[in-house]
């Protein structure tokens, strides 16, 4: 079976992002960009399915401007077989991403689509679920275990109360949580090989999708600053402060 993996180019998770002085957007000048950590886990899961003989082909898809080809190449270096970029002018919202992914799903007819649960820039946590609704597919979100079994996939999900397991008819959507697997590092030979792998570029029009944004970013601002605290010298002082100053115990 074919597995489609959606990878997003985002600011590296180590970067502390700040608002621009005029509050129009965040300042991403000269910051390190990476593959979204949850997408890296998605790629790893797909590659493991291939190594286990369950998947036959892994296709990595990213939506964005040309720069996102870098993240597709990363996915190819991690073991994906070929890549697809859907070219947009800059970032698009989750609903548009979901529509474009649906277009790719219709072309490629994968049995499994694996996405991250959340992009660490927008913190949306929407795209996989939206794709599920648009494509009429079942979804296993926040997955910590994925087992393909015939025409079904069993997904263990990380939910607020603990773990929940659901069984889904294929084709289905999976979104990854952090504990699903630990992604491998790309080896140098694999990085070289990835440069030669096939990478097709589509426009939204090729997929019959009109890019229409519903949301406007009015402004961004830093969160409320916390007042600087103090260091206490001892447990006694800590207990005293909590009782008599903060009055929380």
């Amino acid at each position: 079976m074919k597995v489609l993996v959606a990878v997003k180019r985002v600011v590296d998770y180590n970067v502390k992002v700040r608002a621009k002085a005029d509050g129009s957007d965040v300042d991403l000048n000269n910051v390190k960009m990476s593959i979204n950590p949850f997408c890296e886990i998605a790629v790893e899961e797909a590659v493991r399915l291939k190594e286990a003989g369950v998947a036959t082909e892994v296709i990595a898809v990213s939506i964005g401007d040309k720069a996102c080809q870098e993240q597709i190449r990363t996915a190819l270096a991690l073991g994906a077989d070929r890549g697809i970029q859907v070219e947009t002018d800059g970032p698009v919202e989750p609903l548009v991403v979901a529509k474009l992914l649906k277009g790719v799903v219709e072309k490629e007819e994968p049995q499994l689509v694996i996405l991250g649960k959340q992009s660490i820039d927008g913190d949306n946590n929407q795209t996989g679920q939206m794709l599920g609704a648009l494509a009429g597919m079942a979804q296993g979100t926040f997955a910590s275990e994925v087992k393909v079994d015939g025409d079904q996939v069993q997904v263990t999900r990380e939910v607020d109360g603990g773990l929940q397991t659901v069984s889904l008819k294929l084709p289905a959507i999976v979104t990854t949580d952090l504990r699903l697997n630990e992604p491998r590092y790309a080896s140098l030979p694999n990085i070289m090989k990835a440069k030669k792998k096939q990478l097709d570029v589509y426009s939204p029009a090729d997929l019959g999708v009109e890019v229409k944004q519903h949301l406007t970013l009015v402004k961004v601002e830093p969160p409320a600053e916390r007042q600087a605290g103090i260091k206490v010298e001892s447990v006694d002082e800590l207990v005293d402060k909590l009782k008599n100053e903060a009055k929380v115990i």
Binding site: R18, T127, L134, L217
Partner: protein, 309 residues
Amino acid sequence: MGTLVVAEHDNATLNPATLNAVAAAQALGADIDILVAGNGCAAVGEAAAKVPGVGKVLVADNAAYDHALAENTSLLVAELAAGYDNVVAAATTSGKNVMPRVAALLDVAQISDIISVEAADTFKRPIYAGNVIATVQTADAKKVITVRATAFDPVAAEGGSAAVEAVDAVHDAGVSSFVGEELAQSDRPELTAAPVVISGGRGMQNGDNFKLLDGIADKLGAAIGASRAAVDAGFVPNDMQVGQTGKIVAPELYIAVGISGAIQHLAGMKDSKVIVAINKDEDAPIFQVADYGLVADLFEALPELEGKL
């Protein structure tokens, strides 16, 4: 028209996060109805009817809605949404699972995890792990919204007497089924609702050492949380993770023990009223957000703290 709040529950009790979602719905200004979709969930419908300020409670009681399977529940909510301007749910794992499907079925954007309502079409929400707060405006007539519970004080659970109406629509997409669950058993308060939270990190070294937090938690009526590193290392289960990609907490008192203070952890707790950090590294970033920092070895400080409370 008005606002439909999708209740979260386990067929027996109404999850308190629903009361925070109702509070956000009030900020939207329109009339409020609550939807209880489940299987054998009449008691939840009655509980929801007692929430003050609610017009009516819609109860969709059918096996198809058991365990809030997203494929089925989203079809129901999208159908009912025809009669509302806004559809709102708490940003719990269940709300996050169902609501984006609803939004896609309605062909509207979802506004995730709002922390304030600025106007009927304009909201604030944290992005980049809470490093910045975005104000977003939607062009959609119908709004699908999830609510960060800690940002809205819950409405009262009792005092109202809304009408309860049965909804007969049955949507079974037939593509998913519930297999089982392993829910954490604990006598402690729920992490996201507890007035005091004490969390352990990688510095705890192993799961056994988390017992050092028990006595303190008992004395303070606290819930116990953890950093991702502690969860990843297998010290404690995943439902204890606090942070950007775990649970968001904002208790009166948060005590971080052996936690360095990575931005992804801070994203989940920095709105706590009072923060205490116990860490042996005086340069640990957690001290930058702590009201009271204690530079100490946790293996000495915790037993002493327990003794002195």
